[in-house]
Amino acid sequence: MIDDDQLDRRLSAQRLKPGWASGATGHATMTRLLEGGTRGGRRGWTPNRLLAVAAVLVLVAGMLGVAQLLTGTSNVAVPRPTNGRTVTLQQGGVTYDVTKLSTVMANTDTVFAGRVLTVEARDEEEGWTTYRVTRLQTVKGSPAAELSIRQHGYVDKEGTSHTIEGQELVLVEGTYLFAANFEPALKVYTVAPGPHAAHQVGADQIDELVQRYRQASRG
C-alpha cells in the first residue's frame, strides 16, 4: 500500500533543484528582458514575426471560411458527425444526487432554457466542448441573452462520443433546460452532471418544463 506520506515523499524527491535562474541561461533571460523588453509596449515587427502573423491570419481566414461553408455560420469550431459509438469518461467528486431535480437546482447557480447555436470550442485533452447558446427563458440566476456554456465530453475526429455517465452531449440547434454554474475565471458556464442539467426539450414543452424546474428550485 502507498499512503499519502509516501506519495508526497516521492513527488517531493522529483522537484528540480534550484539554480536555473542564477545560471547562465537564467541570467541571460533576465538581462534580455530588462534590456530588450519595452514595458507596457509591444515587441518590434521583425520580418519573421510579420511572416508568422500573416500565416496565422491566412490560416484563421481559411478555417473561418470552411466553418462558414459547413455550418452557414461564422464560427470557428465545427460540429462533428457521430459514428454511434460512445465512450464513457471518468468523472468523480460529485457529492450530491444528480438524478434528483431539487438537489441539482440547489447545487447550481444558473438554470435556463436555451437553444444551442453552435460549437464554440472543443478541448479533447481536457475533455470539454463549449457551445454558444441563446437564452430563451430564465429559471434561476441572470444569464446573458447569448452565452458560452461548456459540457464535459466531446466528439472525437472518428465520430466517437466521449460523454460522462448519465448525460448525452447537447446537439447544435437543440433546445435544452440547462442547469449550470458560472466559472468567473473562465467567463463560461459549466453544465452540471446528470440528466437534469442538460435536458433536451421540444419547443412546445419549454413552458411546462421551466415551470417544473422553477418549482424544484423553490424546494
Binding site: R10, Q14, L16, G19, A21, G40, G41, G93, A185, L186
Partner: protein
C-alpha cells in the same frame, strides 16, 4: 512607479520565482522550450507589472500555463514526462540527476488526465493552496479539490499496481542452505 523601481521589482520576482516557473515549464512544455516559456512569461509580467499580485507565483504559473500551451502546439507535444525528465537530466544534471529520475512515478503521472497531473504537481511541487492552484487552472476551489483527490487516488492506485507487478516478477526467495541455518 518609475521604471527603475519596476525593474527592481521584476528582478526580485525573477530571482525568487524563475526556478519554479522553469520547473513548471519543463513539465508542461519540455526542457527544450522551457527557457522560452520562462522568458515569455516574465516578458508578460514585465509589461503588466501593475497587475502582478504581491504573491505572484499563482499568477506566474497561470501565465506560464497559457504560454506553454502555445509552445506545446508547435513542439514536443507527444513527449512523455519520462522523456522530458530524462532529457532534462541529460542536459542539466545540476537540476535533476539522471539516477534520481523516478521513471515509475513519471509514467504513472503520464497516465493521469492533464489537469489531474497538473493538480498534483501544483500542490506538491509548488506548495500552492487549493485556492491558489484553482486560480492557476481557472476553476473553482471545490472543483480543484475534487480533481486533486481523484488524481492522488489514481496515482496511488497505479503505483500500487506497478509495485504488485514488480513483486510478481521478482524470483522466489531461495531455500536456506545448510550454511544459512548454521
Amino acid at each position: 512607479m518609475v521604471d527603475h523601481e519596476a525593474a527592481d521589482r521584476l528582478t526580485g520576482i525573477f530571482r525568487r520565482y524563475a526556478d519554479q516557473v522553469h520547473a513548471y515549464a519543463v513539465v508542461r512544455a519540455g526542457p527544450q522550450v522551457a527557457a522560452d516559456v520562462v522568458a515569455d512569461t516574465f516578458l508578460i509580467a514585465w509589461r503588466r507589472l501593475d497587475v502582478v499580485p504581491q504573491e505572484p507565483l499563482p499568477w506566474l504559473l497561470g501565465t506560464a500555463r497559457r504560454v506553454s500551451a502555445m509552445h506545446r502546439r508547435t513542439r514536443a507535444r507527444q513527449q512523455s514526462l519520462v522523456d522530458k525528465m530524462t532529457a532534462l537530466a541529460a542536459t542539466a544534471p545540476g537540476l535533476m540527476a539522471e539516477r534520481d529520475v523516478d521513471n515509475e512515478l513519471w509514467r504513472a503521472l503520464d497516465g493521469l488526465r492533464a489537469r489531474e497531473r497538473e493538480a498534483v504537481l501544483l500542490t506538491s511541487w509548488f506548495d500552492l493552496s487549493n485556492a491558489e492552484a484553482a486560480a492557476v487552472q481557472g476553476c473553482a476551489t471545490g472543483t480543484f479539490a475534487a480533481r486533486l483527490h481523484r488524481a492522488r487516488r489514481h496515482l496511488r492506485s497505479v503505483l500500487e499496481q506497478r509495485d504488485i507487478r514488480a513483486d510478481q516478477q521478482m524470483p522466489a526467495p531461495s531455500q536456506p542452505t545448510r550454511m544459512d541455518t548454521a
